[in-house]
Amino acid sequence: MSWFKRENADLTSAPAPEGEDAERRVRTDGLWVKCLGCRQAIWKADLEANLNVCPKCGYHFGMDAQERVASLLEPGYELVDQGLRSTDPLNFTDIKPYKLRLEQGRRQTGLDDAILNAVGDLGPIPVVLSVMEYAFAGGSMGAVVGETIARAVDRSLAGRKPLIIVTASGGARMQEGIVSLLQMAKISSGLAQMDDKRIPYICVLTHPTYGGVTASFAMLGDLNVAEPGALIGFAGPRVIEQTIRQKLPEGFQRSEFLLEKGFLDAVMSRKELKQYLIRALEFMQVPA
């Protein structure tokens, strides 16, 4: 049984990567999972116990927003800024009404939109955490995602607490048109204030991160850290291929490629991520 429905990808705004790698969701058939990295059968419980990373080859499966929050924050964290829902500002319909797609996203994820904010402790450090949910409309950013992340920024500014954003997004949500584009400016302008006030912001980029998310907050961290093998870019691979009419090089737009080109501070496996973040935030603690 695959709980991931193909329709989720319809909402992915920037043309996102195709094929099974586009969706690193764990597809389970009973107690065993076939690894998309090494093709071996993995005991589902082993995968769960290992933060959805293949114990045999290290392949990073997707992780939903709730799991991500739990993997980073100590018990006792609080989920905040919930209950925001899109008003469908364009009253948009393509081959299906946007309202129906939103309903579907809510049903499938239990979230109101593609984002989850939390406040809690990362190790010993109080932080604000904002995590994107790829399973909701391809993690695309409309007014609700924009506002929710802006509220996370507001919380960081008000409490002088470090902000961590975990991205997983096809980019702007096309069904909200220009409204979705302006969310990039909304969040980036908040991040400028964080920078002015020397409040740490770290972005954790996970598979996939594209379009308006890459061209705004995903690239604006004091540190930008990615999970291994994640696809990260501005334009989607298909758009680039169609524009230049040639095949893309092997490994193009992977985390390791961005690291080599100088656009990431580190590529960190999920297991090492938390320690790296704690260490970085300790470095960034400055007297107010």
Binding site: M1, W3, S13, P15, V26, V33, K44, E48, N52, L79, Q82, G83, L84, R85, S86, T87, P89, F92, D94, I95, Q108, G110, A143, V144, G146, A172, M174, Q175, E176, G177, I178, V179, L181, L182, Q183, M184, K186, S189, A192, Q193, D195, D196, G211, G212, T214, A215, S216, A218, M219, F234, A235, V239, I240, T243, I244, L248, P249, F252, G262, F263
Partner: protein, 301 residues
């Protein structure tokens, strides 16, 4: 209407939206450098991003603007260059900037900030270029950096979309105190063709995509995503570029005078609040206890 579907007339609203797109892309439409030449004097170009190269799709330069009362204002002007002839279009990469273009623009804006000169960006861009080199050199990072830095630039800023306002490619020059749009220009998160191909799975639906995305100047203004519409001569600015440039020039002067009258702190706070509070289309309900059905929970890993 150049591209009607075979035999089937488009609904009136769809035809009207597409006509706007055709006007925004009209080959005789004055390009940013044409408008800059008519509105400003003494344009002296500044080249290069000091990191990789000089992007010929983006022009930056020092210029002068005659203000009411006979004074002259030094300004920093940014204009997208699409190119007229085929050869020129290729040289300008069809007006699609690479990261160097955004970085050159930012470098120029910082120069303007240092010497307290206002920044005027004239934008007509299909998209930021989607290419291998653009990705390797951080197209996303270049645009992102501009959004952040423009939001706190310590001089008045005015951005005008004069033709196509192509998504992040336009926004990367449009986080300004005043964002204006010409009457028959468009501002969109994705070109109608791309939306049709991805969302309708049929590139032939571009007219319907154009209408559904609400990309025309009045629609974008209704959504609160621009600060004002600049009227064009009847029939479109390409019918009388000089008259259109005079109206645009006067509009820029008026906004600039307003912005220059504001104390710097207020200017930046107003800009920041504008972007914080725009495009808010959500309802707020009290938090509900999370409900995950047992079936969903068990199928997740």
């Amino acid at each position: 209407m150049s591209e009607e579907q075979a035999g089937k007339p488009l609904p009136a609203a769809v035809a009207a939206a597409w006509e706007r797109v055709e006007r925004a892309r009209h080959p005789q439409r004055p390009y940013p450098m044409d408008l800059i030449g008519r509105i400003f004097t003494d344009f002296s170009e500044i080249h290069g991003d000091r990191r990789f190269g000089d992007d010929e799709a983006v022009a930056c330069g020092m210029a002068r603007l005659a203000m009411p009362g006979g004074t002259t204002q030094e300004v920093l002007v940014i204009g997208i260059r699409k190119g007229g002839t085929t050869k020129e279009k290729v040289r300008r990469n069809f007006g699609m900037p690479n990261p160097e273009g955004y970085r050159k623009a930012l470098r120029s804006m910082k120069l303007a900030e240092k010497f307290n000169r206002p920044v005027i960006a004239i934008i007509d861009v299909t998209a930021a270029y989607p290419g291998i080199g653009a990705e390797e050199r951080g197209q996303g990072e270049a645009i992102a950096r501009n959004l952040l830095e423009m939001s706190r630039l310590k001089v008045p800023t005015i951005s005008v979309i004069t033709g196509e306002g192509g998504s992040g490619g336009a926004l990367g020059l449009a986080v300004a105190d005043r964002v204006l749009i010409l009457e028959s220009a468009v501002y969109s998160v994705i070109p109608p063709e791309g939306a049709a191909a991805i969302m309708w799975r049929d590139a032939g639906q571009k007219q319907f995509a154009a209408a559904a995305l609400r990309i025309t100047a009045p629609e974008v203004a209704d959504l609160g995503c621009v600060d004002g519409i600049v009227p064009e001569p009847a029939g479109g600015i390409y019918t009388d570029p000089e008259a259109g440039a005079i109206v645009l020039g006067d509009t820029i002067r008026r906004h600039l005078a307003e912005l220059q009258a504001m104390p710097l702190d207020q200017l930046i706070a107003t800009r920041r609040n504008k972007f914080r509070n725009l495009a808010q289309f959500y309802t707020e309900t009290p938090p509900q206890p999370r409900q995950t059905s047992p079936e969903e929970a068990s199928s997740r890993v």
